[in-house]
Symmetry: D2
Subunit: 112 residues, 4 copies
């Protein structure tokens, strides 16, 4: 790993602000409570599962649905994930960096 | 909604590149097949569910675990979501924009 | 706990046979591979999440949908869970008994 | 399908009573609210996902864990599913029958 990775970029901060702006404009600044937000996340992940199974599963269906269907479903998950992070005060850039660092240490341990 | 939202920013592109760099360095450039990646996503969402239930559920536990636990779990979901997008050729910035546009039209219809 | 519980009943065996009969008749005796079956399980759990959120969530919708909707969605999860157990050779009565025993020991330890 | 299926058996009723007895003895007769119960269900499904990925996924691990691990995880899902049904007043035998009937009609329509 190490020096070959691109430097961290505050990629999520902008998206978290956009979801906050959406929340302010559409939901009066109030997020769903975390458990309801989580239920929403599950619902969206379930729709990703349906599309993945249709396209990459045991008996793939003909792709009669527009190619961007998976992009929309993954976008729904991303939006809901960000809403959950905003509602619970999580900085997703920091979370993402921490996860990469966790993986890095785990893999370093594996190969030592 | 309207003009008050911040302009779109290519926030996910940088993160997708970082996950790709991770994949190149650690997995030989090869992602898990989509169904396995999806299973991984479920596993990570399940860990988010555990933390959400502990902190915001019926009988919240004392937060004896470090406060960044939820950030790490949401970061795991984000990483896996991006890996799934990379493996299936999805542009998450475009997916996110399409989702916001879908919500905008849905809400516009609701209030008309 | 102890003696007050009803005795174990082979409740799942009959249902596992019915799903097997369905599989034989409709799928030529062949289940989806486990990862695809799991994706199906997620999809069904996602639909349960939608109904639970609508009925018990932050802003419950009027129950304009028939009351048995949740029964159908939980039934879908149950069917898929059984298909997954059949496909992987799991005896769900034994699994259920083992889980109750695990909970019993966990709770006994908690109170000692 | 046809007449070859075993007759319906009230398989879930006994299990729903056992979970109710557990709830009475251990939780003072009170289930978690539906959204918390759903979060628990996700957590358990996530553990099934981990085991399925380990055993049937891209790079299966050596089965160094006891063979009944999957049975326990599926049993956890089953227990939580039943708790959710009990807490929301769902008769799972009726739900299961309704689902099989729904599938039967769907398949009949497909082949006509």
């Amino acid at each position: 790993m190490s020096g070959s990775l691109p430097p961290p970029q505050p990629g999520m901060a902008g998206l978290q602000r956009r979801v906050q702006a959406w929340c302010d404009a559409e939901w009066g600044g109030e997020y769903w409570p975390p458990l309801g937000n989580l239920a929403r996340l599950i619902e969206e992940v379930g729709e990703v599962a349906r599309v993945i199974n249709d396209r990459y599963g045991y008996k793939p269906k003909k792709a009669d649905e527009p190619a961007q269907e998976l992009a929309l479903e993954l976008g729904d998950v991303l939006f809901t994930l960000i809403a959950l992070a905003n509602a619970t005060g999580v900085d997703l850039d920091a979370g993402f960096d921490a996860v990469l660092e966790k993986y890095r240490q785990r893999d370093a341990r594996r190969w030592r």
